[in-house]
């Protein structure tokens, strides 16, 4: 067979399979066809009609095995669709008095391990708690006799929203009203701690009664290979639709409620303009990924004006020019704000997005502001100061505690997995609060800038978790463990501790195999104990977590690496010279494991490098400081590449390196790095942030070593000004700062006196 023959066969075959038997006969009777071709086509048609004639098709079948006629109480009626995840069937079950129809999803990916099946069960129950008229209810689920997981969802008859709106020729205002309904449903789910992760027009239906129904809420997470329970989970890309994936999903970064805000922005764009913002890049996955991660989408109005799509405009009861005019301004801004690349800079919640749409519809000014060049330059000021407010807020709450620990440790920054990067902490907390309570911790409300208020939020949520999940110890323990982490992130260790203890003991007592959960809770509790200074108890628990994880997982594994890192940190804290060799072995093993897992430049690998450097600096044996310098320089280069020069984490590293160089007597290099760290902290966190004071303090120390007393005094005064702003009046730091300042003044006076008493003395020395 040559290519021409194949082309002819496949084309004719494609026509023939669509035809009736009679049509086929007359087509094949065409005298223009070679008899050989006709014979081949007849054989192909016969083979096509045979259902699975080959044994290998059974063994290698790309489709699922044919489903049983009945799954649990459900009779399968017919196939509704097939997708990457599996098949969707229309099924029914008899219920007292009526027959309920459901959409039954059979999931392609088998849940091969007991652990995954168990987590599938937990997630399913979390989803079953969602009950909102805009969300197709999850009714049931389980594993069928063949071991294939299934979910039974409310069956919704309707058409995809964008398609339905076009068919109905809905105008902009009607479309916006429907969009508000979609937002309300998504907001409800967020308030129940469920992120959709795969919002797209195909999952948003409009019923004949013109009601919006969202399908597949949280299903993407249910299908996630690891079913991680923390808020900031990553979704494997194959489980989302590339055209509707967010920049963070494409980058494999944590998925949060902000991911759904982005997807809603895409939906709004399509609803308003009839096309997706990156449609011209959809030719290849690589091009699409590149565009989504780096290109600013065209404004909605420009997209309409550029394409001049008359059909799309007509479907909106408009003309291309009039539609572009209607979109220009506020609607452009709303879409663009939802579609920002950085999750932090989008609408802080779905509710905020919906509010702006409502304001626009009411003819009132919206809250979002278009980006301007000056805005981009000032990045952290203006209205969007509030968006960064949460990071600052959390940092403030942490400040009294972590700053102290930092200076105590000789100005060296250690990093802990369980505490994660500050930004992640802030995001997890704000997502949680915003969505659980509808409150917005980003708001510039002074009452909210107070840890008592935030604490109250957490208390309320604890009460609801206890009330609603009474009798469901497994899920309750999972949420209590999360509350423990949130309290811990806020520095509320006395509240974090009993919750962590409770979660751990509940999980230990549960029947069945919960070793992974026990390890996680042991890890959380150990972190709290460590912060409270109970190092031996913390060490015991970290060791337990490590042992459990080593027994559970093959190496290399992310959780084992985390445990190695945490155990090493506590050993460094215990500062037991006799165990330095063990600590070093743990550090090296953890670092190597992360390199194997993630490569050299990954956030976690860099964190391990940083921690190893901190260990070496503390031990300060022969060659240790030189090795530490190499490690820190690699960390700095890696982080600058990934995060940009203005990131607070980059500044942390610069400051660590500067301290080391100062210790090595290389003051000029140290001073330059301190300046760089101060600049980056100021740019990212604000010039008045306690971290800036930390940098200034380091700068002061290095300047003092060079004898530049005037510059040293200037740095110390600036640090004191910030500390005075953030620390309570009697804080020991302020006393230290003032005492050092007094000493400086005395030294400066003395120097001046010496200089005037003996001119030229400085030169002769």
């Amino acid at each position: 067979m040559n290519p021409e023959q194949w082309a002819q066969l496949s084309e004719l075959f494609g026509e023939l399979v669509e035809m009736s038997e009679d049509e086929r006969q007359s087509r094949l009777a065409d005298p223009g066809l070679a008899s050989e071709t006709v014979r081949a086509l007849e054989r192909m048609l016969a083979a096509h009609a045979a259902e699975r004639p080959l044994t290998i098709e059974e063994r290698l079948a790309p489709e699922l095995d044919p489903p049983p006629e009945q799954i649990g109480p459900y009779r399968l009626l017919h196939l509704l669709g097939e997708g990457g995840m599996g098949e969707v069937w229309l099924a029914e079950r008899d219920e007292p008095g009526f027959r309920r129809q459901v959409a039954l999803k059979r999931i392609r990916r088998g849940l091969e391990s007991t652990e995954l099946r168990r987590r599938f069960g937990i997630e399913r129950e979390a989803l079953a708690r969602l009950s909102h008229r805009g969300i197709a209810q999850l009714l049931d689920g389980g594993i069928d006799a063949a071991g294939v997981p299934f979910l039974a969802l409310e069956y919704v008859e309707g058409r995809p929203l964008v398609e339905a709106a076009d068919a109905l020729h809905l105008g902009l205002d009607q479309r916006l009203a429907l969009f508000e309904e979609v937002c309300a449903a998504v907001h409800y789910a967020h308030a129940h701690l469920v992120v959709h992760r795969d919002l797209k027009p195909a999952n948003i239906l409009l019923t004949a009664e013109r009601e919006v129904r969202l399908l597949d809420f949280g299903i993407a997470k249910l299908l996630d290979p690891e079913l991680q329970e923390s808020a900031a989970t990553r979704t494997s890309l194959r489980l989302v639709t590339p055209e509707y994936a967010s920049p963070e999903q494409l980058a494999g970064e944590p998925v949060t409620t902000a991911t759904d805000v982005y997807a809603l922005g895409l939906l709004l764009h399509e609803l308003l303009t009839g096309r997706r913002p990156f449609r011209e890049h959809e030719g290849s996955l690589t091009a699409l990924e590149q565009a989504v991660r780096t290109l600013e989408p065209r404004r909605s109005s420009d997209a309409v004006a550029a394409t001049g799509d008359a059909a799309a405009a007509t479907a909106r009861r408009s003309s291309p020019a009039a539609l572009a005019r209607a979109l220009r301004g506020d609607l452009d801004t709303i879409v663009a704000t939802a579609l920002r690349k950085e999750p932090d800079r989008r609408y802080a919640s779905v509710e905020r997005l919906a509010e702006d749409v409502a304001l626009y519809r009411a003819g009132r000014p919206i809250r979002a502001r278009p980006e301007s060049l000056p805005y981009r330059l000032r990045k952290f000021t203006g209205r969007h100061r509030v968006a960064v407010g949460a990071a600052t807020l959390i940092a403030l709450l942490l400040a009294g505690f972590s700053l102290f620990a930092w200076r105590q440790a000789g100005g060296l920054e250690r990093e802990r997995d369980t505490a994660r990067a500050e930004r992640d902490k802030a995001r997890e907390l704000s997502d949680f609060l915003t969505d659980l309570f509808g409150a917005d911790p980003y708001a510039d409300d002074p009452a909210l800038r107070d840890s008592t208020t935030l604490g109250e939020f957490l208390e309320r949520s604890e009460a609801s978790v206890r009330r609603e999940l009474d009798g469901r110890p497994e899920i309750q323990a999972a949420l209590l463990a999360r509350l423990a982490r949130l309290h811990g992130n806020l520095g509320r260790l006395d509240r974090a501790r009993p919750l962590a203890e409770e979660a751990l003991s509940t999980r230990r007592a549960l029947a069945g195999d919960h070793r992974a959960d026990v390890a996680e809770s042991a890890n959380t509790l150990a972190t709290v104990l460590q912060e409270q200074g109970e190092l031996p108890a913390a060490e015991t628990l970290f060791r337990e977590a490590l042992a459990l994880r080593e027994a559970l997982y093959d190496e290399p594994h992310a959780d084992i690496a985390e445990s190695l890192n945490n155990l090493a940190i506590v050993l460094v804290d215990r500062n037991d010279a006799a165990r330095a060799a063990e600590t070093e072995a743990l550090e090296r093993r953890g670092l190597e494991m992360r390199r194997a897992l993630y490569g050299d430049d990954h956030f976690d690998t860099l964190q391990s490098r940083n921690n190893f450097a901190v260990f070496l600096i503390k031990r300060a044996g022969p060659g240790d400081l030189a090795e530490a310098e190499g490690l820190l320089r690699a960390v700095l280069a890696g982080r600058k590449r990934r995060l940009g020069a203005d990131h607070p984490t980059v500044a942390n590293t610069e400051s660590n390196l500067a301290n080391l160089l100062d210790d090595l007597g290389r003051e000029p290099e140290a001073i330059a790095l301190f300046h760089e760290a101060i600049r980056a902290w100021s740019a990212s966190l604000g010039a008045d942030h306690p971290r800036v004071a930390t940098g200034l303090y380091g700068l002061y120390a290095a300047l003092l070593d060079t004898g530049d007393l005037a510059a040293a005094e200037q740095a110390l005064r600036a640090a004191l000004a910030i500390d005075e702003h953030h620390l309570p009046p009697g804080h020991p730091y302020l006393a230290t700062d003032r005492q050092k300042l007094a000493e400086l003044r005395v030294a400066a006076e003395r120097k001046k006196a010496e200089a005037s008493a003996a001119p030229g003395a400085a030169e002769s020395r």
């Binding site: 080959l54 790309p62 088998g110 494999g252 093959d554 992310a558």
Partner: protein, 187 residues
């Protein structure tokens, strides 16, 4: 080792055909590791579907961040080739043993055992020959079949992986499947 998978996938993506020969054995090791992990503690005699195996391996690599999402298409293509070679080789060896080829009966390695389909050995060997013919006539249809049969991809996934429309994939698939069936099935 794992870093090498990513590296070779990149090379393959850049059009370096030789990378395929480097990748198959590497991927083979990954597949075997995943198969062992999946079957740990399971009852003996259970076999895995190629679909489950390839999906698990992909998810594992992706999760461990050794693969980037853009490597996916290349990965699935190579996985399909690897699975095909593995299955066909195993089938050839079993058939040779049965015929008493005089060669020492090589123990099949564990991965081949796990995805073994002895009842389909003759078909697999015939399929391999028919696939070679198909490849010379239409490399695209050949790829579609390889991804669907040996990596277990759905129509949609195949379309995304090959950057083709679902319609094109469907047309190639139906025609190629019918042709292969006609070619292999004893008349």
């Amino acid at each position: 080792m794992s870093g090498a998978v990513t590296l070779w996938l990149q090379r393959l993506g850049e059009g370096d055909e030789a990378a395929l020969d480097e990748l198959v054995p590497l991927l083979y090791d990954e597949l075997r590791g995943v198969a062992r992990r999946l079957l740990r503690g399971e009852r003996p005699g259970r076999t895995l579907s190629t679909t489950a195996l390839v999906n698990e391996t992909y998810l594992r690599l992706l999760e461990a961040r050794r693969l980037t999402p853009t490597d996916r298409a290349a990965f699935l293509g190579v996985a399909a080739v690897t699975m095909r070679r593995l299955l066909v080789d195993a089938a050839r060896r079993r058939l040779a043993d049965k015929r008493g080829s005089g060669l020492p009966a090589l123990p099949l390695d564990d991965l081949a055992e796990l995805v073994a389909a002895p009842e389909a050995d003759a078909e697999l060997v015939a399929l391999d020959a028919a696939m070679a013919t198909l490849k010379s006539a239409s490399p695209r249809a050949h790829q579609v079949v390889e991804l669907r049969f040996f990596a277990g991809l759905s129509l949609e996934e195949t379309a995304v992986t090959l950057a083709l429309s679902t319609k094109t994939v469907q047309r190639d698939w139906l025609a190629a499947r019918a042709w292969l069936r006609a070619e292999i099935a004893p008349d």
